[in-house]
């Protein structure tokens, strides 16, 4: 019996790892090719559309000023640009700060919301902003983001040159990567996520997931979809699924870069990631049961991926951990033998090399320090994720069983010191 569980967990884990290898290969190929698209698009000379940038902000006094500074630096015709900050039920100085920018820059405007209409979370704020916007293309940034000047330009170029793309996603980088060990770990994680999962899926399936920030979507699509799902905890994943379902794809284009802040302590990290995990579990539930009603079955690729990640893969890892620990105390008479060690080592090395390859694609990220971070990550950060998924699954299960209301946790922001060196050259 233990043998059976052992093999089940093994196959679940390795199925996932093989999928990751496959995605990594695709990510690398995309890395080699995407610069060519830049050149092609620039030669096409398609007229610029009007762009609305939506920035939902709830108590963002610490970061909103910097974000708007970056917005002012955007290289995009200002007559075709509107920046709408949705000051969602803030009780700090956010509104004040945004107002001061709105006075100085005509293309920046602000919407203040109060309950019962406001304060319902990010989706709600975005829907309100969308209602007020006029742009043909809607871009979304989180309040802690500092996009590079050409970020909007590349996002719009992508949509204009690719009519099949319903949305386009840029790359985000960690602004506070060098702050502490946690942010270093997150930095490695985000780089790998984008080159492996985003670029990889884009390359093979013409799919990627809207990450909640630094993306552009056509107004027509948002209108057709009726905006964001306010019940969804991870509104971005949910939106991605609906865009696919309309038959569009979501392009990943790494030239559009934004810098964002990541949690600097574990508590914040835990709460933010719990929200993501719960959100993704919600999406699995929502679309899995409607799968046969979906128009575009391609969503299945991602649905399966999420299903695998959150249920089967983590289930497999948990099972394998459990077997490992029980076997330390009781001889389970596992017949697998020496090959299990080979698999353990292989799994670890695969993790390390994939992270290293992803890091190598960002300038000056493949360093000895980061190498050590990656090794450390396998035994700590990755294991933390397992606990987190278990916790999130538990919460979601509780929510469904007791029909609880969803409350949106807003990620805590941190004051950035200017000393932190940003690497924008990549």
């Amino acid at each position: 019996m233990a043998d059976l569980f052992m093999y089940i967990s093994l196959f679940l884990i390795w199925l996932m790892l093989f999928y990751h290898m496959f995605l990594m290969q695709g990510g690398y190929l995309h890395f080699l090719h995407y610069k060519k698209s830049e050149k092609e698009w620039q030669q096409n000379k398609i007229p610029f559309p009007k762009v609305s940038v939506l920035i939902p902000a709830h108590n963002e006094e610490v970061v909103i000023g910097k974000t708007l500074d970056a917005m002012c630096q955007l290289q995009y015709p200002t007559n075709l640009l509107e920046i709408i900050v949705i000051n969602d039920n803030s009780n700090d100085r956010t509104g004040e700060i945004v107002e001061s920018y709105a006075k100085r820059f005509p293309y920046i405007s602000v919407i203040h919301t109060k309950p019962p209409y406001g304060g319902k979370g990010k989706s709600g704020a975005l829907n309100i902003g969308f209602g007020q916007s006029t742009g043909e293309v809607i871009c979304v940034y989180d309040a802690d983001n500092t996009p590079e000047p050409d970020a909007i330009y590349w996002l719009v170029m992508g949509l204009q040159n690719d009519p099949k793309a319903g949305a386009i996603v840029g790359k985000f980088r960690v602004i506070n990567a060098n702050k502490n060990l946690l942010t270093r770990l997150i930095n490695v994680e985000t780089i790998t996520f984008q080159w492996l999962a985003q670029a990889g899926r884009w390359f093979w399936f013409k799919m990627s997931t809207i990450p909640g920030t630094n993306f552009a979507i056509r107004r027509s699509i948002l209108e057709e979809l009726g905006g964001w799902d306010q019940k969804a905890l991870s509104e971005d994943t949910e939106l991605s699924f609906r865009v696919y379902n309309l038959g569009y794809y979501i392009r990943f284009f790494p030239s559009a870069i934004t810098w964002e802040q990541e949690p600097e302590n574990l508590k914040v990290w835990w709460r933010q990631r719990t929200r993501w995990a719960r959100g993704n579990i919600y999406v699995i539930g929502k679309f899995l049961f409607q799968f046969f009603k979906l128009k575009n079955k391609k969503v299945g690729v991602d649905l399966l991926y999420f299903l695998f990640t959150y249920l089967l893969f983590f289930g497999g890892v948990l099972l394998s951990h459990a077997i490992f620990i029980v076997n330390l105390f009781v001889d389970l008479k596992l017949s697998i033998g020496i090959v299990s060690y080979a698999l353990l080592i292989m799994g670890f090395l695969l993790f390390v090399t994939e992270e290293l390859l992803a890091l190598s694609m960002e300038k000056r990220q493949l360093t000895l320090k980061n190498f050590l971070v990656v090794v450390f990550m396998y035994f700590t950060y990755s294991q933390m994720w397992i606990c987190l998924v278990v916790y999130a699954s538990f919460l979601e299960l509780k929510r469904i069983l007791f029909k609880q209301e969803v409350t949106w946790y807003k990620t805590k922001r941190f004051q950035q010191e200017d000393l932190i060196r940003k690497d924008r050259s990549a």
């Binding site: 610069k35 290293l356 300038k363």
Partner: protein, 574 residues
């Protein structure tokens, strides 16, 4: 593919049934002899003595009828070419019997007592008992001498007009005829056929049956007691040595090993390396012989226990391992019918037991891709009923033969390949020279001595066994010694016609080819263990595949990372 195999199997099966012949006559295209054996013994039932004669005669024909001296009918002689009278005990023969036999004008051989009661044997004049320790005879080409432990014989006078085929002696002054002949009449001056008499009779039967040769010394080497806990490395080493020397061999496989202390059962499926070694051996000169299923009946250790004999009660398996055993005799029953019913029940129990073990064993081995071509009972112990049941499954039996249902130690071999009637169609490839006993420093020497004795017999067989756990050293020593003997034709079971049948499995071999038809769906319905084994094998293999693919990906990704880093450094990107 499946169909083709089935068709081929059918052809072999049919031809096997039609030409189910191993006698020397059949091979040489001569009409085979038809033998009548008339015997005088204390009980009327056929016992180990007649069975010994059966084994000796089975080399020449499978048409052998046994009749007690008191129940002979004239009709029994119809078509008979050779009559053997076996005077095991002294008795006054019924006048009817002697008269009927007197009318017979074919080859007539008397063994032991009561010869003088046949008129045609009047040349035999008995004169008490003698003792001998040396036997000499000639087969026409070669003078043969055999030194034996002191034995007794029936001393006969040497009349003039007879020829002495075999002489026995003890020192210079004691010389006796052992086998004499006058015209078509032969007399063997011993009432028992144990060795060395069996060797001498085996050879001289060629004269009695007037075979013409050519004769061939065959032999085999059997690797004994190979069970799931065998050392696969040693098996492979041994296989390589035998392959190098071009010696085909047999592997006596026990599919299940039971640990004596923990009672835990180990199946071959849990030991893939042993299975691989066995497959390797099967592909490179080895043939699988099924050596029981568990090699035990009660809780003894595998390889030590008796599987088809209750050794504690010295009786066949007529009861479950934990049942209380009450031995009953005819006297315990009110009438013959009640006793017969009781006996039938016992035999039915034994048959069910053997059926289950053999079926499961054949199915398991075949499921692993190991095709047993013959059977060998653990410790060579099996009842007469057992041999009959086994003959439903196997066409070849390997080893020595238990000749009595009363005592397992009444056991014997014969010096050549034979097909005794009590084997119900099975062919016996007898083991003749013993094994390398690790506790006996002279074991190999003794084996070679036995081999030389068997080389005296026309068509003689040199067959022994070896325990692979002993490693290669002793084996090489044995092989070196065996190779010094006159050339032996090593038996390759695959070259011989064998048919093995169990529920959902049919195996046949001929001319070096082994064909197996396995009804996989049928096997699945028998037990889930069968498909599970294949799933497990696939899983194990695919895990190594995973390791391979993973390693490849690691190398590839490292190469990419290196290339990307170099490109950044050279300023080609970024």
């Amino acid at each position: 593919m499946q169909k083709r195999v089935c068709l081929l199997l059918m052809v072999i099966l049919t031809s096997y049934c039609l030409l189910n012949e191993s006698s020397v006559y059949a091979k040489k295209g001569v009409d085979k002899p038809s033998v009548l054996v008339v015997y005088s013994s204390s009980s009327e039932d056929i016992d180990e003595h007649q069975r010994m004669l059966d084994m000796l005669l089975g080399h020449f024909t499978d048409e052998i009828i046994f009749k007690h001296s008191h129940s002979l009918q004239e009709a029994d002689l119809v078509g008979v070419t050779h009559v053997f009278y076996f005077g095991q005990v002294r008795e006054r023969l019924p006048e009817y019997t002697t008269r009927v036999l007197q009318k017979f004008n074919g080859v007539f051989t008397v063994i032991g007592h009561n010869a003088a009661q046949f008129k045609r044997m009047s040349f035999v004049k008995q004169a008490g008992k003698g003792v001998y320790s040396k036997v000499t005879w000639s087969d026409g080409d070669e003078d043969k001498t055999l030194r034996v432990r002191r034995q007794s014989l029936l001393q006969v006078e040497e009349p003039e007009e007879t020829s002495v085929l075999v002489k026995a002696s003890h020192g210079e002054e004691h010389q006796y005829p052992l086998l004499i002949k006058k015209e078509q009449n032969y007399y063997l001056a011993v009432p028992s056929l144990e060795e060395p008499v069996s060797l001498i009779l085996a050879d001289t039967l060629h004269d009695i049956f007037q075979t013409n040769g050519p004769y061939e010394t065959t032999g085999y080497l059997r690797l004994e007691d190979v069970h799931p806990l065998a050392d696969p490395k040693k098996l492979r080493e041994i296989a390589d040595i035998l392959m190098e020397r071009n010696i085909p061999y047999m592997i006596a496989v026990i599919p299940v090993y039971t640990n004596e202390d923990t009672k835990e059962q180990h199946f071959l499926s849990d030991y893939p390396e042993v299975l691989e070694a066995l497959s390797y051996m099967q592909d490179n000169g080895g043939s699988i012989v099924m050596h029981g299923y568990t090699h035990q009946f009660r809780d003894d250790e595998t390889g030590e226990g008796f599987e088809f004999w209750d050794v504690e009660n010295n009786m066949p398996i007529y009861h479950g391992p934990t049942d209380e055993v009450v031995k009953k005799t005819k006297a315990d029953f009110p009438d013959a019918k009640a006793y017969n019913d009781y006996r039938e029940d016992q035999k039915a129990f034994e048959k069910d037991y053997i059926d289950e073990k053999l079926t499961r064993g054949i199915q398991e081995l075949a499921n692993y891709g190991l095709y047993p071509l013959a059977f060998e009972a653990p410790h060579y112990t099996m009842s007469q009923n057992g041999y009959a049941v086994t003959s439903d499954y196997f066409s070849t039996y390997v080893g020595q033969v238990q000749l009595s249902d009363e005592d397992w130690e009444t056991m014997s071999g014969v010096p050549y390949v034979t097909k005794p009637t009590f084997f119900k169609g099975m062919e016996l490839l007898p083991e003749t020279i013993g094994y390398v006993d690790p506790d006996d420093p002279n074991a190999i020497e003794k084996m070679i001595k036995r081999a030389k004795e068997h080389l005296l017999v026309r068509d003689g067989m040199v067959a022994g066994f070896y325990h692979p756990f002993l490693g290669t050293e002793k084996l090489m020593e044995l092989l070196d010694e065996l190779e010094k003997l006159p050339p032996i034709e090593w038996i390759d079971l695959k070259e011989r016609e064998n048919v093995i049948q169990a529920e959902n499995v049919e195996i046949a071999s001929e001319k070096g080819e082994v064909l197996a038809a396995i009804d996989k769906r049928g096997l699945v319905s028998t037990s889930w263990d069968f498909p599970l084994y294949h799933v497990k094998t696939f899983v194990t293999k695919s895990i190594w595949g995973i390791v391979g693919a993973g390693s490849l990906a690691i190398c590839l990704f490292l190469f990419y990372a290196l290339r990307t880093t170099l490109r950044y450094r050279r300023g080609r990107i970024g």
